[in-house]
C-alpha cells in the first residue's frame, strides 16, 4: 500500500494541477502532494524496516532497504523543495521575471507548468526507486528526463533552450546505452533462467542467479549501463550537460535534479553493479567505477577552481559528489557501499540547502556571477548568506558536517581495497575542490556592503533554509538509528555476495 500511495499521490497532484487556474491553489496541491509523498515514503521505510521487503503486483513494484532509502531521500528533497519553490516563484511573480506586466496569464501558465510537471517528475523518481523490473526502471529514468526538460527551459531564455537541448540529446543517447545494457542483461538472464514474461526482468529474480550469467554478455551490459546511467548521473566525461541544465533551471528544480535524479541514476547503476559483481566478481566493475569516479571528481576540480557562476559551481560540485558515490561503490566491500549510501544521504540533505541559498542570492542580486557579483552578501541576506557559507563548508566535506563522515568511509573502503593511488588522488581532488569552493563563496559572502537592500524577501524562502541547516548540523553529530539501519541494510544489499 505504501508503494502505491507513494506513486499515486504525486501523479494525482499533477493531474489535478493541470486543470487549475489559481496559482494559490496550485501551490496548495503541490504542498500537500509533497507532504503526502514524504509521509508515504516514511511509511514505506517503516514497512521495509519491519518486514525486510515490500512488494506489490506480483513483484512488479518492490522495495527493499535500498529502494526505500532512495525513495525517502527523493521524498525528502521533494518535501523541502516544496515550500521553498512556493516562495521562489512568488518572488518571480513579484519581480515579473516572466516578462509581462499585465493580467498574469503568462505567469499562470508558467506556474502551472512547474506545479504540474514537478509532481510528475517526482512520480517518475519514485517509480525508479520502487521498480523491480529493470525495464520499468529504465522507463522511469527516461521519464525523469522527459518530465524535467521543460523545467529546464522554464525561463525561456536562449541559454535555457540551449541547456535543455544538450540535456535532452545527451540524456537520450545515454539512456539508449542504458537500455542496450538492460537488453543484454535480459539476454544473459534469459539464457540461464529460460522462462519468459515480465518477472524475468525483475531484479529480485535476477539477483540470486546472477552468478551463472554469461560473463562476456554481462561485461558488455555493464559497460553500456555504466555509460548510460552514468550519463544520467553526470559522470565524466558524460557530465557535460549538467552545468548547463543545473545553471539554467530554477533553483528548486536544480535542487531536485542535483540530488534526487542523481540518486536515481546511481541507484539504477548500483542495481546493475550487484548483478555484474555476482556474475564477474568484483574486479571488473570496480575498476571501471573507480576510473569513472576519479575522472568525475577530477574533472570537477578545474571548473570549481576557475568559475564565474555560482550556480554552475553547484553543478560541478554535483558531478564531484556523483563521482564520490561511484568511487565508494567501486571500492566495494562493507565500507564502500556504506560510504556511498551515506554520502548519498548526506548529499541529499546538504545540496538542496546550497541550491536554496544560491537561489535566494540569485533572486536578490539578479545575477549568478561571482566575479561581477556584489560581494558582501552577508549584509544583504542575514540568513541565506551565512547559511550559504555553512552549506559550502558542509558540501566540501568539512567536519563536523556529515559529508566528512561519508567521505571518510569511502576513503576507508579505498584503503581496505588497497587502492592507495586512487585514495591519494581522491584526497587531493577533494582538497582542491574545497579550495575553489570556499574561495568563491567567501568572495561572494564577505566584504563591505554593496548597496543592495537588506533583508530576506520571504519566510517561504528562509524557513526551509533554516530547517535544512539544522538538519545538516545535527546529522553531523548524530545519525538517528532508523536512518542508519536503513542505510546499513541497503549497503548490505550492495555488498553481499551470495
Amino acid at each position: 500500500m505504501a508503494i502505491l500511495a507513494l506513486l499515486l499521490i504525486p501523479l494525482l497532484a499533477s493531474a489535478v494541477t493541470v486543470g487549475m487556474r489559481n496559482p494559490r491553489r496550485m501551490e496548495l496541491v503541490y504542498l500537500i502532494s509533497a507532504a503526502g509523498s514524504f509521509g508515504a515514503a516514511v511509511w514505506l521505510v517503516a514497512e521495509v524496516l519491519r518486514n525486510g521487503t515490500v512488494s506489490w503486483g506480483d513483484g512488479f513494484l518492490y522495495a527493499d532497504h535500498l529502494s526505500a532509502l532512495v525513495a525517502v531521500l527523493t521524498a525528502f528533497v521533494y518535501l523541502v523543495t516544496a515550500p521553498y519553490a512556493v516562495g521562489y516563484f512568488r518572488q518571480d511573480e513579484q519581480q515579473q521575471t516572466f516578462g509581462e506586466a499585465g493580467n498574469g496569464r503568462i505567469s499562470r501558465a508558467k506556474l502551472r507548468k512547474y506545479y504540474a510537471l514537478t509532481p510528475l517528475f517526482g512520480f517518475s523518481m519514485f517509480l525508479v526507486a520502487v521498480s523491480n523490473n529493470l525495464g520499468m526502471l529504465w522507463v522511469a529514468v527516461e521519464g525523469t528526463t522527459l518530465a524535467s526538460i521543460f523545467l529546464v527551459t522554464f525561463y525561456g531564455r536562449p541559454t535555457s533552450l540551449e541547456a535543455a537541448w544538450k540535456y535532452a540529446v545527451l540524456g537520450g543517447v545515454g539512456l539508449s546505452m542504458a537500455l542496450f545494457g538492460t537488453v543484454l542483461t535480459y539476454y544473459a538472464a534469459h539464457q540461464v533462467l529460460g522462462g519468459e514474461g515480465l518477472s524475468m526482468l525483475n531484479w529480485s529474480v535476477l539477483a540470486p542467479s546472477a552468478g551463472q550469467f554469461d560473463k562476456p554478455v554481462m561485461r558488455l551490459a555493464f559497460i553500456l549501463v555504466l555509460l548510460g546511467y552514468g550519463t544520467k548521473a553526470g559522470l565524466a566525461p558524460m557530465h557535460t550537460w549538467k552545468p548547463d541544465a543545473y545553471g539554467e533551471a530554477p533553483a528548486p528544480v536544480g535542487a531536485l535534479m542535483a540530488t534526487a535524479v542523481l540518486n536515481c541514476a546511481i541507484y539504477a547503476l548500483a542495481r546493475f553493479y550487484v548483478l555484474t559483481t555476482r556474475s564477474l566478481g568484483p574486479q571488473f566493475a570496480s575498476q571501471l567505477l573507480i576510473l569513472f569516479g576519479l575522472l568525475s571528481i577530477g574533472i570537477a576540480v578545474p571548473f570549481i577552481l576557475v568559475q564565474r557562476s555560482y550556480r554552475r559551481l553547484l553543478a560541478y560540485s554535483s558531478i564531484d559528489h556523483g563521482g564520490i558515490m561511484v568511487l565508494g561503490l567501486g571500492f566495494g566491500g562493507a565500507f564502500g557501499a556504506l560510504g556511498m549510501l551515506l554520502h548519498m544521504t548526506f548529499h541529499s540533505v546538504t545540496k538542496p540547502l546550497l541550491f536554496f541559498c544560491a537561489g535566494n542570492a540569485q533572486q536578490h542580486t539578479g545575477s549568478d556571477s561571482i566575479k561581477k557579483g556584489p560581494g558582501g552578501l552577508l549584509h544583504a541576506l542575514p540568513v541565506s548568506a551565512p547559511m550559504f557559507l555553512l552549506a559550502a563548508l558542509a558540501i566540501t566535506g568539512t567536519p563536523p558536517f556529515s559529508m566528512f563522515l561519508s567521505e571518510f568511509t569511502v576513503l576507508r573502503a579505498g584503503f581496505a581495497a588497497q587502492r592507495t593511488v586512487a585514495v591519494i588522488l581522491f584526497v587531493a581532488f577533494v582538497v582542491a575542490v574545497f579550495c575553489g569552493f570556499i574561495y568563491h563563496i567567501t568572495q561572494l559572502i564577505f566584504g563591505a556592503p554593496s548597496g543592495l537592500p537588506r533583508g530576506e524577501s520571504s519566510r517561504w524562502k528562509t524557513y526551509p533554509v533554516i530547517a535544512l541547516a539544522l538538519i545538516v548540523i545535527v546529522l553531523g553529530f548524530w545519525l538517528p538509528a532508523p536512518v542508519y539501519s536503513l542505510v546499513n541494510g541497503a549497503a548490505r544489499i550492495l555488498a553481499e555476495q551470495p
Binding site: 545515454g174 581496505a416 587531493a428 582542491a432
Partner: protein, 682 residues
C-alpha cells in the same frame, strides 16, 4: 579520589553552554553591555575546570576516558585524558583562562564589539574543539574536531570580514589547513588499516608493524600534515598572513596554543604511534626544526608590523620545539631512552613556555594596537609612559621569548641545548655532527630573537612617540591588564619554579620511554636543574634571580656611599646641534634591522628605491623618498608559481566544456568505443 572526570566533563559542558548562551545572545539582537563579560566568565569557568582536570590528571596520574555513540558504529566520541593529552590541555586551559579575562575587557572595545554574542560563541567553540583535539582518542573523532578547530579559528580570523586583508589571511589559513588535513587523513588511515582499528589505544606502536615504505609515507604525511598547523617551514605561509589580522585575543590563542595542536599531533604520532623510527625520520624533524627556527626569526626581524613579527616568532619557536622532538626521535633510534626523555621534555616544556609568553606578547600587542589603531611599529614609540603596565608585561614576555635567564624561555632552551650537546656523544659518526651544528644555529636563532625583541620593545615602547596616534595612546583597561598579568606571572613562575614543574613530565616520559626523568633533572633539593646528572651541567634559575638582585645591591651601595649627594638632572637628549630632538631623529624599525638585512641579503633579496628631490644641487635635497622591501622567498618562489600553474592548467582544462553539443557527444562516443574494445578484449 580526585574528580578528574567530573572536572573535565564539566569543563566541556561549560564551553558548550558558552556556545549556546552566546548564540542566544546573538539571536536576541539587542546587545547588552554585560553580555561579553558574562560570556567571558563562562569561558573562564570552563578553562578553570579544565585546568583542574588536567592538573589532577598529571599529578595524581589518573587517566580518564569515556565514549559516546554517534549513531554510526565506527564514529565514537572517545576521549582519553592520558598524560600527554592532559599536558596539552593544561597549557590550553591556562592560556584560555587568561585570554578569557583579557577578552572581557577587549571585546567591548575592539572591532568585534558589533556582535559580541557571535564572537563569544566562536571563541567558546574554538576552546571546546581544541580541548577535544587534545583529548580525542579516535581517528575519526580527532579529525572532526581537528577541522572544527580550523573552521572556528577561520571565522574568528575573518570576523572583521570587511577587511580584505583579514579575508585573504583567513582564507589562506583555511585552505592550507585543509591541505594538511588531507595529508593527515591518508596518513592516519594508513596506520588505522594496519591496526584494524581507529582507536588511538590500538595504534600504540603501530608504526613498527607497517611495511617500511608505507610507514615512511605515513610518517612524512603526518609530519607535514601536522606541520601545516604548527607552521613549519615550508608550509608556514599562512601563519604570518592569518595571525596578525585576527582580533588580538584570537591571535594570542592561535599562536599560543592552536599551532601547538600540530605539535600535539606530532608528539602523539612520533612517540605514541611510532615506536622507534629510522634515523632519517628523526633527522628530518631536526633539520626542519633548525630551518624553521632560523628562517622564522630572520623573517621576523624584517617585519615592522608588530603582530606579524610575533607570528614569525611562532615559526621560530616551533622550530626550537622540533629540535627537541627530532633529538628525542634520534636518541630513541639509537637506544638512549634517558636522553630521549630529556629531549622530549625540552620540546614539551618549550611548547608550554612558548604558549605562555607568545600569548602574553600577543595580548600586549593587542593592547598596543587597540591603543594606537595601527600595527605598524614605525608609528609607535614612547608607549611606556602612556601604558606602563602593558609595557612591563610585554618586556617580561620579550625577555622570556629571547630565552634570557631567569625566565621560562631560558629553561626550556637550556634543556634543548643540553639535549643537543648530549647528542654528539650518543650517536654515531655522521649523525653526531648534526647536533652541535644544530646547537650553534639554535644559538644564532636565540640571539637573533633577542635582537628582534630589542627592536620590538624598543621601537614600540621606548623614546618618543612617532605619530599622533601613539601620542594619544592610553593604557588598556584593568581586565585586559589582568589577563596579561596572569601570563607574566606564569612566565616568572615557570622560570623560577621549573624544578617543581618538571615532575609533570614524568608520566609522559614514563609512558613513552619507560623512564621517569624528573628525578634525574632536578638536584640540590629542588634548587638545581641538571642535564641528566649534575656532572653534565646544571643551572639554577632561582639562584640566578636571587644573585642578580643581591648583586644589584653593590652599585646601590656605591651610590649610597659616593653618589648620594651628587646632582641628578633631567635634560634633553643630544640632538647633534639641530633644533630639538624629534621622533624623526629616532632609529626606525627598518633601520634597526638593516645590518641584518644586508648580511642576509642573499636570503631576503631586498629591493630598495631612493628618490631624491632637489632644487639646487644633490647635496641639498628637499625631499628623499625611500622604499625598501624584501621578498618572502617561499611565497614568491614556491607558492605563487604553484598557484599560477594550477590556475593556468585549470583554465586550459576548462576548454573541455566547449559549449558544443557535438564535442560533448564525441566525448561519450569515444568513451563508448574505448570501453567496448576494452570489454570485448577479454
Amino acid at each position: 579520589m580526585w574528580p578528574t572526570r567530573e572536572l573535565y566533563t564539566a569543563g566541556l559542558l561549560v564551553y558548550a553552554l558558552g556556545i549556546a548562551g552566546a548564540l542566544a545572545g546573538y539571536a536576541a539582537k539587542r546587545t547588552r553591555r554585560w553580555l561579553p563579560g558574562l560570556l567571558c566568565a563562562v569561558s573562564l569557568l570552563g578553562a578553570l575546570l579544565e585546568f583542574g582536570a588536567s592538573l589532577t590528571a598529571l599529578f595524581v596520574r589518573t587517566e580518564l576516558s569515556w565514549t559516546l555513540a554517534s549513531g554510526v558504529p565506527y564514529l565514537r566520541y572517545t576521549v582519553r585524558l592520558d598524560p600527554l593529552s592532559a599536558y596539552f590541555n593544561l597549557a590550553l586551559s591556562l592560556l584560555a583562562a587568561s585570554v578569557s579575562v583579557y577578552s572581557a575587557g577587549y571585546i567591548g572595545r575592539s572591532s568585534v564589539r558589533k556582535s559580541p554574542g557571535l564572537f563569544c560563541a566562536l571563541l567558546n567553540l574554538l576552546l571546546l574543539s581544541l580541548t577535544l583535539v587534545f583529548t580525542a582518542s579516535n581517528i575519526l573523532f580527532f579529525l572532526i574536531v581537528w577541522e572544527l578547530t580550523a573552521v572556528a579559528a577561520y571565522f574568528l580570523v575573518v570576523f572583521d570580514h570587511e577587511s580584505a586583508e583579514a579575508r585573504k589571511g583567513g582564507l589562506l589559513y583555511l585552505l592550507m589547513s585543509r591541505g594538511g588535513t588531507g595529508m593527515l587523513l591518508i596518513g592516519f588511515l594508513l596506520l588505522a588499516s594496519a591496526a584494524g582499528s581507529m582507536d588511538f589505544a590500538a595504534l600504540h606502536g603501530i608504526g613498527q608493524q607497517l611495511p617500511p615504505a608505507l610507514a615512511a609515507i605515513a610518517f612524512l604525511l603526518l609530519f607535514l600534515g601536522f606541520g601545516v598547523k604548527a607552521g613549519i617551514i615550508p608550509v608556514h605561509i599562512w601563519l604570518p598572513a592569518a595571525h596578525p589580522v585576527a582580533p588580538s585575543n584570537i591571535s594570542a590563542l592561535m599562536s599560543g596554543i592552536l599551532i601547538k595542536a600540530g605539535i600535539y599531533g606530532m608528539a602523539r604520532v612520533f612517540f605514541d604511534f611510532y615506536g622507534t623510527v629510522p634515523v632519517w625520520a628523526g633527522m628530518t624533524v631536526l633539520v626542519v626544526g633548525v630551518v624553521s627556527g632560523l628562517l622564522g626569526v630572520l623573517y621576523a626581524l624584517m617585519e615592522h608590523d608588530l603582530k606579524r613579527l610575533l607570528a614569525y616568532h611562532s615559526i621560530e619557536n616551533i622550530g626550537i620545539i622540533l629540535m627537541g622532538f627530532g633529538s628525542a626521535l634520534l636518541f630513541r633510534s639509537f637506544g638512549h631512552p634517558q636522553l630521549a626523555a630529556l629531549a622530549l621534555v625540552a620540546g614539551l616544556f618549550h611548547t608550554l613556555n612558548h604558549g605562555v609568553f607568545k600569548c602574553l606578547l600577543f595580548l600586549g600587542a593587542g593592547g598596543v594596537v587597540h591603543a594606537t589603531h595601527t600595527r605598524n611599529m614605525e608609528e609607535m614609540g614612547g608607549l611606556i609612559r602612556r601604558m606602563p603596565s602593558s609595557a612591563l608585561y610585554f618586556l617580561i614576555g620579550a625577555i622570556a621569548i629571547s630565552g634570557l635567564p631567569p625566565l621560562n624561555g631560558f629553561v626550556s632552551e637550556w634543556f634543548t641545548y643540553q639535549a643537543l650537546l648530549a647528542g654528539f656523544g650518543a650517536t654515531p659518526a655522521l649523525t653526531r655532527m648534526a647536533f652541535p651544528i644544530a646547537g650553534a644555529l639554535l644559538a644564532l636563532t636565540a640571539a637573533l630573537a633577542a635582537a628582534c625583541f630589542v627592536k620590538a620593545f624598543g621601537i614600540t615602547f621606548l623614546a618618543l612617540p612617532r605619530s599622533e596616534r601613539a601620542e594619544n595612546a592610553q593604557e588598556v583597561p584593568l581586565l585586559m591588564r589582568s589577563g596579561m598579568a596572569i601570563l607574566a606571572v606564569a612566565c616568572v613562575l615557570l622560570g623560577l619554579g621549573a624544578t617543581w614543574f618538571l615532575p609533570v613530565f614524568d608520566p609522559i616520559t614514563q609512558g613513552i620511554f619507560g623512564v621517569a626523568i624528573s628525578p634525574d633533572l632536578v638536584a640540590g633539593n629542588g634548587l638545581l636543574l641538571t642535564a641528566g646528572s649534575t656532572g653534565r651541567g646544571s643551572v639554577s634559575t632561582v639562584v640566578i634571580a636571587l644573585a642578580l638582585v643581591a648583586l644589584g645591591a653593590i652599585p646601590l651601595l656605591l651610590w649610597l656611599v659616593w653618589g648620594r649627594k651628587s646632582a641628578r638632572l633631567s635634560g634633553p637628549t643630544w640632538d647633534c646641534g639641530l633644533p630639538g630632538l624629534t621622533a624623526e631623529n629616532e632609529y626606525t624599525a627598518t633601520a634597526f634591522s638593516k645590518p641584518l638585512r644586508m648580511i642576509f641579503a642573499a636570503l631576503f633579496r631586498p629591493r630598495r628605491e631612493i628618490q631624491t628631490e632637489f632644487e639646487v644641487s644633490a647635496y641639498y635635497p628637499t625631499a628623499i623618498h625611500f622604499e625598501s622591501e624584501i621578498k618572502p622567498t617561499f611565497e614568491t618562489h614556491v607558492y605563487e608559481p604553484l598557484r599560477e600553474l594550477v590556475l593556468s592548467l585549470a583554465s586550459r582544462m576548462r576548454r573541455v566544456q566547449a559549449g558544443s553539443i557535438h564535442v560533448y557527444l564525441t566525448y561519450v562516443f569515444i568513451t563508448l568505443i574505448l570501453l567496448l574494445i576494452f570489454g570485448a578484449r577479454g
